[in-house]
Symmetry: C2
Subunit: 150 residues, 2 copies
DNA sequence: TCTAGTTAGATGCATTTGCATGAAAAATCA
DNA sequence: TGATTTTTCATGCAAATGCATCTAACTAGA
């Protein structure tokens, strides 16, 4: 009579779930701490600037920034405004779509991205990569793939 | 000359890192959405209430709540105040330590915890457990253990 | 014991987030 | 085409977070 229920997540799943989020939380907090100590902006800025660089001078629609960074619409809108106000990006009206805004990386923004990366990279290395084997990392990558949205 | 650098995290590590945080972010957002749709408070409330229940009527020091939930000191302080204001917990002065506060779960808090769990549990099941094999879950658990703080 | 230093918790103030809504342009459809 | 719906982005207002600092109590050291 100790058969496994098909209806509930078992103990192990709950523990793994909890650990996953705990690890993510701790790791991100450490990155933010490192950035702060280096006098750099929060990680969210990096994410946006990186997407802008990936757009290779084409400019990125605000809605694309939302999707790629997983920011809520109003957060993307205001974060970009702050980045623009700091001179690290520019907004221009989209030609094809009168509602749209295109965001471009400025040279200052490119420099900021390059300044942030060493700090961010060190965190990824020390708090993550150095503690896992290559095999762990590949396994983790594959397992997590199953959890990506459909 | 294409030897692997020992100084930098490689591409694979960076991708796994990014995926880890992306998955965590998406999954947590889905839980919050489900809770909201059910008219329930945010996940942080659950975390605190659960720790209070685990204290089994002994009461929990605020500082313990901070440590266990990973909340910042001021956030724990104010979140507990909100939970207390809603009648789901009580604060009492700690006997042994004049600075300290002990937080107790009320019966209302216990009921809320029980109300939240089905929604939370369903999220864990559908967005996590159902998409992985038992073996995946164990593997994930073990790999993540290596990333826990020392 | 007196003093300096540390720890637990609260809180004023600025920033950020979340919610709801608005405005303008585009898309759909009768 | 004209009306309706949807999409894109912005924003006022409320709530939550982060920062810095404060108070009170405990601890350690002379």
């Amino acid at each position: 009579m100790t058969e496994k229920s098909e209806e509930l997540p078992d103990e192990m799943a709950i523990n793994a779930w909890a650990r996953l989020h705990r690890i993510s939380n701790i790791a991100l907090e450490r990155v933010e701490d490192r950035l702060k100590k280096s006098g750099l902006p929060p990680l969210a800025w990096y994410d946006v600037l990186l997407e802008l660089r990936r757009a290779k001078g084409q400019g990125l629609r605000l809605i694309e920034i939302e999707k790629r960074t997983l920011l809520a619409q109003y957060n993307a809108s205001r974060l970009v405004d702050r980045i623009v106000a700091a001179g690290h990006a520019e907004k221009r009206k989209a030609q094809e779509d009168g509602r749209g805004v295109l965001v471009y990386l400025t040279s200052s923004g490119g420099r900021l991205l390059d300044e942030m990366w060493p700090t961010y990279r060190t965190a990824i290395k020390e708090d993550f990569a150095d503690r896992l084997t290559e095999r762990d990392i590949e396994t983790l990558f594959k397992i997590l793939a199953k959890l990506l949205p459909d």
